[in-house]
């Protein structure tokens, strides 16, 4: 079924090389975009919770803007609109960037800033979920605002949100496919190119789908590993014992209402 991938292309490569090159761009975009998103997301998320109204309003504004504009529109804004609205010298410089990078950098910025807004909200939720006593204890020891965030609040909040950050990791790498609209030859773009060159649409997108799925599984496993690695010794995730299990209840028919449903 995927035999077509190993056929020669017009430029002397094989189609699978196109896919792998696309995979490379996808991974580069997701990886570097993630660190931009994580860095800005933590700062903005902290900004959402500080007492200072100026910073909290600024952070709120950031989140609302970047979270509420569709990724595709943001992609176009960075690629088409930005060079026109900055001073013309800078705009010209941006337009001079050679091809793959001319698409890569706007895409990186777009995905990084968009995902940052989403991460910021999770960081805020993590911070707000901490018991007030933690902040009080830090204050009572004379730790100021910065030290309290740096050593007490943020390390705990980040541990709390590792599971939900998994979704963001998966989100950013799936959103990399939007970069094809501004001409970046990432995985989806390459699949489309193969499909157009060979008319083997099913094989081309089938292969891309499998690669995306594998990446998702790897990301999930990596995040599970991180979650375990940073877990605080002595604390354990909430787990039901076998006799509390919902499935067991259903089998035994002890689930409230289950008997009636069976009758």
């Amino acid at each position: 079924m995927f035999g077509v991938l190993f056929e020669q292309t017009a430029d002397g490569q094989r189609y699978i090389d196109w896919l792998l090159s696309g995979l490379g761009w996808t991974l580069a975009l997701a990886f570097f975009g993630w660190w931009i998103a994580f860095g800005i997301g933590v700062i903005v998320g902290v900004g959402r919770t500080v007492q200072n109204r100026f910073f909290s309003v600024l952070a709120r504004l950031y989140v609302e803007i970047f979270r509420n504009i569709p990724v595709l529109v943001q992609m176009f804004l960075w690629y088409f609109v930005l060079p026109e609205v900055v001073p013309s010298a800078l705009g010209d410089a941006i337009k001079q960037i050679p091809p793959p990078w001319a698409s890569f950098f706007p895409a990186l910025l777009c995905l990084g800033l968009y995902t940052a807004a989403r991460i910021a909200e999770q960081v805020r939720a993590g911070i707000e979920a901490l018991p007030r006593g933690q902040i009080e204890a830090a204050s009572a020891l004379g730790l100021g605002g910065y030290l309290t965030y740096r050593y007490v609040i943020v390390p705990q909040a980040l541990r709390l949100i590792v599971p939900s950050l998994t979704s963001e990791v998966m989100g950013i790498y799936k959103n990399t496919s939007v970069a094809l609209t501004i001409g970046l030859m990432e995985l989806t773009a390459q699949a489309r190119q193969i499909s157009e060159a060979t008319f083997q649409t099913f094989s081309a997108f089938g292969a891309a789908t499998i690669i995306y799925l594998c990446l998702a599984l790897i990301a999930y496993q990596a995040m599970t590993f991180i979650d375990k690695a940073v877990r605080i010794p002595g604390s354990s995730p909430v787990k039901l014992t076998p006799d509390q299990d919902l499935a067991a209840d259903m089998q035994q028919g002890t689930l409230p209402g289950a008997m009636e449903a069976v009758k």
Partner: protein, 255 residues
Amino acid sequence: MPQETVSDAAAAPSIVIVENVMKRFGAFTALNDVNLAVGKGEKIVVCGPSGSGKSTLIRCINHIEKHDGGRIIVDGVELSHRLADINSVRCEVGMVFQSFNLFPHLTVAENCMLAPMKVRGISQVEARDRALGLLRKVRIHDQADKYPAQLSGGQQQRVAIARALCMQPKIMLFDEPTSALDPEMVKEVLDTMVELAREGMTMVCVTHEMGFAREVADRVVFMDRGCIIEQADPETFFRAPRTERAKGFLSQIIH
């Protein structure tokens, strides 16, 4: 002789002065014109029914709650709402909470080392030495590299005491330190506090442990509805409370 200790403490200069302090939470008045002076080395037990403002009072002393009126002077520094004053006061005032509030992501030793290193600026080696010394004092040094969640409640509270002591405070505030503990763990924490009192630490304790009050307190302060109703040395307070409210309170907690 206990009688002499009382007069010594009373004669010593006040390290905490609370003057006409008011505190409101919305329409609720938590502290209503409270006056209290704590002498150097004095041990005060604050008691009273729940909601009487006793926790609020000691939380105002290190500005975890902002007072709305009156003055609070700690170790010569008036607690205005200026940050520099607040942080300098907090370094001199240790606090132990009902719910321990240890930092769960740090080991026992790291809990004790964080503030001395980051606030006092001492080296890591010195901070660890100091932490281990104080953990030894609260008899928990063999657990120094465990995490708080791996310890019992009583052990956690003793770590919290050691953590506060690592800042070498001049005053220790205790906010119901034994209320969240299982009964069999209360004693180990109280023993630690008694030991601390014997060494001359200035202490203000909100607690219902009347045995502790009898043993170490120079003065018992009884609060109700945001006011200090009565204060006396423990012997007098327990034997012959002057006010009806104090009598009512004592009859409920002493069975």
